[in-house]
């Protein structure tokens, strides 16, 4: 059995976890800074870095204590090295490297987005790649094929704002404040999603790419014109209508991709080697249609419900982690790290933070 101590500090959560064999979470400690950043209407990188350095040791100690183990019981140290805020990432990376060096344990560098996908490996112990995944978080909106552990092929990505960014900006515009995702979701419960028709953006010729900047502008224009006309803007209706537009865009592309990709060859077992013009579009007979949801915005229950309904209708089996594993955490980093560790991959002590690391 392999025990990995995982550390995650890419944004505003200081997190550490102990994960066994990539699937079993023994401890999962998260210290969130949301309260600190709320007054500034968003995450302030310098403040995040300062909070991480205060929290890092106690969080790591708590993860070890909760797991009932010491560093002696740990087989490897894993850390998120990107993408994220560089100053924030550096805290986790510096701490992980120092611990790995001092204990002589292997060091594993993990991509944060890959971590989000691997939260599903914890939630669904039988889930194995290859599969199609939809990653929706504060900084990322991706449709990707996970061909094997640690091996991804991007089918579509956002051309401008990530879904989470759009949530934050609209939340600010209608006075809900930060963090935008949960606040919009809550406000939308009292609103009418059909009250305002906001646009669903498309990129010509790129069926799987996302765009949210036009939607964001449409919301801001709507608020301005209503206020100019002296009409009261319904926070709830704007939130509900905006959320519906985002979720529609996401669901439409994800279901289309899953249906077109068809069976992801899970029946045949192996990783996909063929690289056609349209990757993985050769539907294998008998293959189960699967879609794996990941990322912080995956905690949005309206998105989950909409996706669930659309997938049921299209005969797609939807996998998603429980909301607690959707937001940033270190358990998912430990899950992803296990497969790199198993393949003998090791990061050097010169490992650096890579703020724009690609999947």
């Amino acid at each position: 059995m392999t025990k990995i101590l995982a550390i995650e500090t890419s944004c505003d959560e200081t997190a550490a976890a102990v994960v066994e064999d990539g699937r079993r979470v023994i401890s999962n400690v998260i210290n969130t800074q949301i309260a600190v950043h709320t007054r500034y209407g968003g995450v302030v990188p310098e403040i995040a870095s300062r909070k991480h350095i205060e929290n890092i040791n106690p969080v790591i100690r708590a993860a070890l204590k909760e797991a009932g183990c010491t560093l002696d019981d740990i087989d490897a140290v894993a850390v998120t090295y990107g993408p994220g805020l560089v100053g924030a990432l550096l805290i986790g990376v510096s701490a992980a490297k120092a611990i790995a060096y001092a204990t002589g344990k292997p060091l594993i560098g993990v991509n944060h987005i890959e971590g989000h996908v691997c939260a599903n490996l914890i939630e669904h112990p039988d889930l194995e790649p290859p599969f199609l995944c939809l990653i929706v978080s504060g900084g990322h909106t991706h449709l990707a094929l996970m061909k094997d552990y640690g091996e991804f092929e991007i089918l579509g990505r956002t051309r401008d704002d990530a879904a989470g960014e759009a949530f934050d900006k609209v939340a600010r515009a209608i006075g809900l404040g930060y963090p935008g995702g949960p606040k919009i979701e809550k406000a939308a419960l009292l609103g009418d999603a059909a009250a305002i028709q906001f646009p669903r953006g498309h990129i010509a010729g790129s069926p799987y790419d996302f765009t949210f900047s036009g939607l964001k502008s449409a919301v801001l224009n709507y608020i301005n014109s209503e206020q100019m006309a002296g009409r009261e803007v319904s926070q709830a209706n704007v939130a509900a209508s905006f959320q519906a537009a985002v979720v529609d865009s996401i669901v439409e592309r994800a279901v289309m991709a899953a249906s077109k990709l068809g069976g992801d060859s899970s029946a045949s077992g192996g990783a996909r080697e063929d690289r056609g013009a349209e990757p993985g579009l050769d539907k294998k007979p008998g293959g189960e249609l699967r879609l794996v949801l990941a990322g912080g915005v995956a905690a949005n229950s309206y998105l989950r419900e909409s996706l669930d309904a659309a997938c049921s209708a299209a005969g797609i089996r939807l996998y998603a982690p429980r909301p607690a594993l959707c937001t940033d955490n270190a358990a998912m980093i430990g899950a992803a790290a296990y497969y790199h560790f198993a393949r003998g991959e090791r990061a050097p002590l010169s490992l650096n933070a890579v703020p724009n690391l690609k999947l």
């Binding site: 500034y40 040791n57 100053g87 001092a102 002590l349």
Partner: protein, 467 residues
């Protein structure tokens, strides 16, 4: 005692291993790579080269700032990680003090004299052991925005040895500093404008000053101009704008390896600190930044003028602190300008704003960002009741919560039980703002406003007692 030291506060990164005040090994790096990439490989190579094991180290010393925020965090987090994994204490060494400690050894002091002579220092630096003779040592780290992180230090005879017992034991003398002296803080570390530093130094009445660090290099011209020896100018004593040049100051600018922060000095000073019991748990150490983050600095600052009320800066460290207007005239002008930008033809003139303050019950709060006034609220308070007269925020700063913040500061004055205001019935955004601030609709006053005629909404807020 074996101390492993990290110095990463500035561009030049170094590590050192020191055992009982003896430097066993040190490595320095000034390359293009980041400290994050270089630090641990460099430490590993150094320890391997001298056959030392990490587990033999008794404590980890780290240069704890001030300095580059990112550089400090890489060094401090690495030290914290090592401390946690090895279960060893940390010694957080003040960076500027450690820089001054570059002169702890007599040979270091002599080296500096040689260097000073080589560069033909016109200040006449060839004074033997001047660090021991009580020269001020002023480390300066460039803090940008024309500021430096700096402090003033001096090697002095320890009080317990002042009766003349010093210098008998050579080894001990070395450990304590130049010729058995201890490093004393004359002026505590701070982020200062160079001009402020010049004034402070002039007031200390020293005859010799040693400058070091990238800040000294950067501001050498200003320092020499303001403090330098009169010999340099070729004339008699002269006065500068800030310094009475009655005393002749000898300025010495350290060069070479004495000029920048060094892990060896961090380790040696850490040894002294450890003896004083200043080693701490790795969990407790955080860098000394000496400066808030930009977001905190630029967070709206509210000043009060007129009737004194509780107002706040809205940054993390000073929340709840009272700021009275530094310049009421400037605030009145600012209010009039915002009036113009917001209310246009209905704006109050400068004179009208001024007349508001002739009533001792009236006051204002002014919100500032980066020093610029961006919004205000005018109010009156009489016997526990308050009234909001006017509130405005510059158009480009709306939707940032400034108006809400102004109201919230005003409502928290702790002496007013009930607030009221009138607002045009059709002014939906303003009504929404007041409702969000806890105001309730009391009644409608018919045709209260002129130009155009409009009803007013009378709104009230009762402040609940807070336990």
């Amino acid at each position: 005692m074996k101390i492993l030291a990290i110095e990463s506060a500035t561009k030049i990164l170094s590590v050192a291993l020191v055992c009982d005040n003896k430097i066993i090994a040190t490595r320095t790096s000034d390359n293009k790579k980041t400290h994050s990439e270089t630090l641990l490989p460099m430490m590993e190579e150094m320890l391997d080269s001298c056959g030392a094991k990490l587990s033999e180290v008794d404590a980890i010393a780290v240069s704890n700032g001030p300095g580059s925020f990112t550089g400090l965090r890489i060094g401090v987090t690495t030290a914290k990680g090592l401390g946690l994994a090895l279960d060893k204490p940390l010694i957080p060494v003040p960076t500027l003090e450690a820089m001054a400690y570059n002169f702890v050894r007599a040979d270091a002091a002599e080296k500096l004299i040689c260097q000073a002579n080589e560069t033909d220092n016109p200040c006449g630096a060839a004074v033997p052991n001047f660090a021991a003779e009580g020269a001020l040592i002023v480390p300066m780290i460039d803090a940008r925005r024309n500021q430096v992180f700096t402090g003033v230090y001096r090697f002095e005879k320890p009080e317990t040895l002042a009766s003349g017992a010093a210098d008998k034991n050579g080894a001990k003398a070395l450990a304590s500093g130049v010729a058995g002296r201890e490093l004393k803080t004359i002026m505590a570390e701070a982020a200062l404008d160079v001009r402020e530093l010049v004034d402070d130094l002039a007031g200390l009445g020293a005859r010799k000053i040693i400058f070091l660090g990238d800040g000294a290099l950067l501001h050498r011209g200003v320092l020499e101009e303001a403090l330098g020896s009169v010999q340099e100018t070729g004339g008699g004593a002269r006065e500068t704008s800030s310094v009475q040049m009655a005393a002749r100051l000898e300025l010495i600018f350290a060069t070479g390896e004495l000029a920048h922060p060094r892990a060896t000095s961090v380790a040696l000073l850490a040894g002294v600190m450890a003896e004083r019991g200043e080693a701490v748990s790795a969990d407790l150490v955080t860098p000394t930044y000496l400066r808030q983050s930009q977001a905190e600095r630029e967070y709206t600052r509210v000043t009060s003028i007129g009737k004194k009320i509780i107002s706040t800066t809205l940054d993390a460290d000073n929340e709840g602190k009272v700021f009275e207007a530094e310049d009421e005239g400037a605030d009145i002008d600012a209010i009039a300008q915002i009036e113009q930008a917001v209310f246009e033809e209905n704006a109050w003139s400068n004179a009208s704003v001024q007349s508001h303050f002739t009533n001792p019950c009236n006051g204002a709060l002014v919100a500032r960002r980066k020093g610029e006034a961006v919004g205000f609220v005018l109010f009156q308070k009489v016997a526990g009741e308050g009234e909001v007269f006017r509130i405005a925020v510059l158009p480009e700063y709306r939707r940032c919560g400034i108006a809400r913040r102004l109201l919230s500061v005003l409502m928290q004055d702790g002496e007013t039980d009930k607030w009221m205001l009138e607002v045009r019935y059709g002014n939906k955004p303003a009504i929404a703002l007041y409702e969000a601030a806890g105001f309730e609709r009391e009644r409608v006053i018919q045709d209260y406003y002129k130009d155009p005629v409009e009803d007013a909404l009378d709104m009230r807020k009762v402040i609940k007692e807070v336990e």
